[in-house]
């Protein structure tokens, strides 16, 4: 808190007029310029639309993860929930195109249940979220494995894959518009509105910043936290639907996504342990992460060099975000 008091003073001292812009947007812009320099075809719609399509799942997941981070927790269960959604959907749909709607409903139901359980365990059993969701991650991985037997058992029908795979062609100006990008815009706006334009968003920030103070101020802390976990799990279900649509069934599709989502949120300036974060910046963080991967692909560096560069860029970007926050308090 003291940091914030200090920062609000330093803000006053600052000359007015220059708006504070989150550095993640500059990093993203720089990476995109670098990509275009390496591959001029990127400015064509197929270039940037494919990029957005590829980034959409992670962007939605990061925006959902942000809810839990802002409320002061972590959600490590999202990666294995993605896997469960993809594997489960392929098992349930049994290649029947008309099953898509009820399968998606069942998956959202599973997401709701997982989020509720995560939230209840954290709030009422007082298990730290890191451990609670780690346990959930292992459990869901086990479920996915039991369900599939270790190898995919079925396909996803084209009606299910519509969301992650199909590009709407012959759109004026942009020529092609992937359905995944529409999903990203809709879900992204919804999550933005919920976080930054409703009371829930304010309560989330209050709980994450100082749960004790929030409780004394009459905030229903447990309900707010549980809501955060539910939002995160539902975003993971949507991510799973997009990923399964994009590339089909595999049994390790969600592996590592939990850490990528947290990284994206932190790149977007979210504060681990709660109290600060922005949905648009988390989405920009996810685009930045995807841009790093894409740029390194385009540069054609050997794999080990690529991984070293990738790690260094990540650390540098997060360090920059932290430095800026210290300086400006934002």
């Amino acid at each position: 808190m003291s940091e914030q008091v200090l920062s609000s003073q330093s803000k006053k001292a600052r000359p007015r007029g220059l708006p504070q812009i989150n550095p993640v947007y500059f990093i993203l812009a720089a990476l995109i310029v670098a990509i275009i320099l390496n591959n001029p075809a990127f400015v064509e719609p197929t270039g940037y639309m494919n990029f957005l399509k590829r980034a959409a799942p992670l962007a939605i997941l990061a925006a959902g993860q942000l809810y839990v981070i802002v409320s002061g927790g972590f959600d490590l269960s999202v990666g294995s929930l993605i896997t469960l959604v993809v594997v489960g959907s392929s098992m349930l749909s049994n290649n029947d195109p008309s099953s898509t709607w009820w399968v998606i409903s069942v998956m959202l139901g599973i997401g709701l249940a997982v989020g509720l359980i995560n939230g209840l365990v954290v709030c009422y059993l007082k298990v730290p979220s890191l451990i609670a969701t780690l346990g959930m991650m292992i459990t869901l991985n086990g479920f996915a494995f039991m369900w599939s037997g270790g190898a995919p058992r079925g396909y996803l029908p084209d009606t299910f894959r519509f969301f992650g795979r199909v590009n709407i062609m012959d759109v004026p100006v942009i020529r092609m518009l992937p359905v995944a990008v529409i999903v990203l815009i809709v879900v992204g706006f919804l999550l933005y509105w919920l976080m930054h334009r409703t009371n829930l968003g304010r309560l989330l920030h209050a709980v994450g910043d100082n749960p004790r103070a929030a409780l004394l101020a009459g905030v229903p802390v447990n309900r707010v936290r549980i809501t955060a976990f539910v939002v995160s799990s539902l975003s993971a279900v949507i991510t799973g639907i997009l990923l399964g649509g994009f590339a089909g069934v595999s049994t390790d599709v969600g592996t590592g996504y939990e850490l990528q989502a947290i990284t994206a949120a932190v790149l977007g300036g979210a504060q681990l342990l709660g109290g600060r974060g922005s949905v648009p910046a988390a989405i920009a963080g996810a685009l930045t992460l995807t841009a790093i991967f894409t740029l390194l692909n385009f540069l054609g560096l050997p794999q080990p060099v690529r991984q070293v560069v990738q790690g260094l860029i990540l650390i540098a970007a997060v360090a920059l975000a932290m430095y800026r926050r210290k300086r400006t308090g934002q």
Binding site: P152, G154, L259, Q307
Partner: protein
């Protein structure tokens, strides 16, 4: 961050390989030539049962191991941690059911860990119930001492990956990684004109059976004057595979795709489809989803195989050895056929799961297709 984990894994694998087998050569011209020759050899043994056939005509005498049944057959398995091994292990358990002489089949799963597998083998030996030990080693060098110790006590059969000792009664394996690389690349060389662009997709660096596929493939493509536009690691991940191919398509045309394993072949094909490109000459593997896509799109393609029927052979060998019948040895080299346009239809069964390895030699077994996850 997944990438960071991959780096850690990759580095530990590189270190493991470098530490244990610094002299390991993944581009050995002699082995390349030998496997190339074996690909065209006519196998000996029962017609139409490649899992019981052999290419190298040398037999191991097993009279000293003859004993009365029922037998306890013990199996130390490196893991059932990928779809290939899932299919293979099913083949094995179904083969066991065909042999009434086997009273007891003991399976221990090392879950991909050298340490656990070494301990597993020691436990099996200490238990003293095994009449014969089958080992599918997790890594070659690390498991060698454990296998040597087992050889002192009972007959041992090694299959899939090898060990650096000739003490086992027989080492069962198909032709090998060079052979796999040759079959696919030769098909590309025969179907794409010199100067054509070939994209090579690989799973991971540092795994011997995959490195040899790549070195053999690359050698053939280069000799044919083809232009290798890139060799990329996919981590066996569908989404990453599709993204890589999309990126390459933005930068230029691709006349052929060579893969060192086919699990993500359909994702790579979809990158062409979704971008509105014609699917070029393709090298996949014997996974059902790839074979079905191949037929549906009428591709110019080939599916080299690392046949899962090799999981049946150790059980057959175990029973023969305990009966004192000679078996091919010290190496039992199984034929390694490729699926081509001519025999594609024989291997397609749309009731099977997407990553069912069609070269399983399992179609005539009693519990097919249910035990392999197929629908009736």
């Amino acid at each position: 961050m997944r990438k960071v984990l991959k780096v850690a894994t990759a580095m530990s694998m590189v270190l493991a390989v470098a530490g244990t087998a610094a002299a390991q050569n993944f581009n050995d011209p002699e082995e390349f030539a030998r496997q190339k020759e074996q690909l065209s050899m006519t196998p000996q043994g029962p017609e139409g049962q490649p899992w019981a056939q052999y290419l190298v005509d040398a037999m191991a005498d097993t009279a000293q191991y003859k004993k009365d049944g029922p037998y306890t057959v013990c199996f130390s398995n490196a893991g059932v941690n990928n779809p290939w091994r899932v299919v293979g292990y099913t083949n094995m358990t179904e083969e066991v059911k065909l042999h009434p002489e086997i009273g007891n089949f003991v399976h221990v799963d090392a879950e991909g860990s050298d340490d656990k597998q070494i301990a597993d083998i020691q436990d099996l030996l200490a238990g003293g119930n095994c009449d014969i030990l089958i080992v599918s080693p997790n890594t070659t060098a690390a498991l060698t001492p454990a296998v040597e110790a087992a050889c002192q006590r009972l007959p041992v059969i090694v299959f899939d990956r090898g060990v650096e000792t000739d003490c086992p009664v027989t080492f069962i394996h198909p032709v090998g990684g060079y052979g796999f690389g040759i079959q696919g690349a030769q098909f590309v060389a025969d179907n794409v004109e010199a100067g054509g662009n070939v994209l090579m997709l690989r799973i991971l660096p540092g795994v011997d059976v995959l490195e040899t596929r790549y070195s053999a493939g690359r050698r053939i493509l280069e000799e044919a004057g083809l232009n290798i536009v890139g060799a990329e690691f996919t981590d066996g991940d569908n989404a990453k595979t599709k993204s890589i191919v999309e990126d390459y398509l933005q930068r230029g045309s691709i006349d052929a795709v060579w893969m060192d394993a086919g699990a993500t072949a359909v994702a790579a094909i979809e990158a062409f489809e979704d971008g509105g490109f014609d699917v070029p000459v393709f090298v996949g593997e014997d996974q059902q989803d790839f074979l079905q896509k191949w037929r549906a799109l009428d591709l110019t393609a080939i599916a080299p195989t690392y046949p899962t029927y090799q999981w049946r052979t150790p059980i057959i060998a175990a029973v023969s050895i305990l009966k004192g019948e000679s078996v091919p040895g010290p190496e039992w080299v199984l034929p390694q056929p490729a699926i081509t346009a001519e025999n594609l239809d024989e291997f397609i069964n749309d009731k099977m799961p997407p990553l069912h390895y069609a070269m399983c030699g399992c179609e005539d077994m009693p519990d097919y297709p249910k035990a392999w996850g197929g629908s009736e």
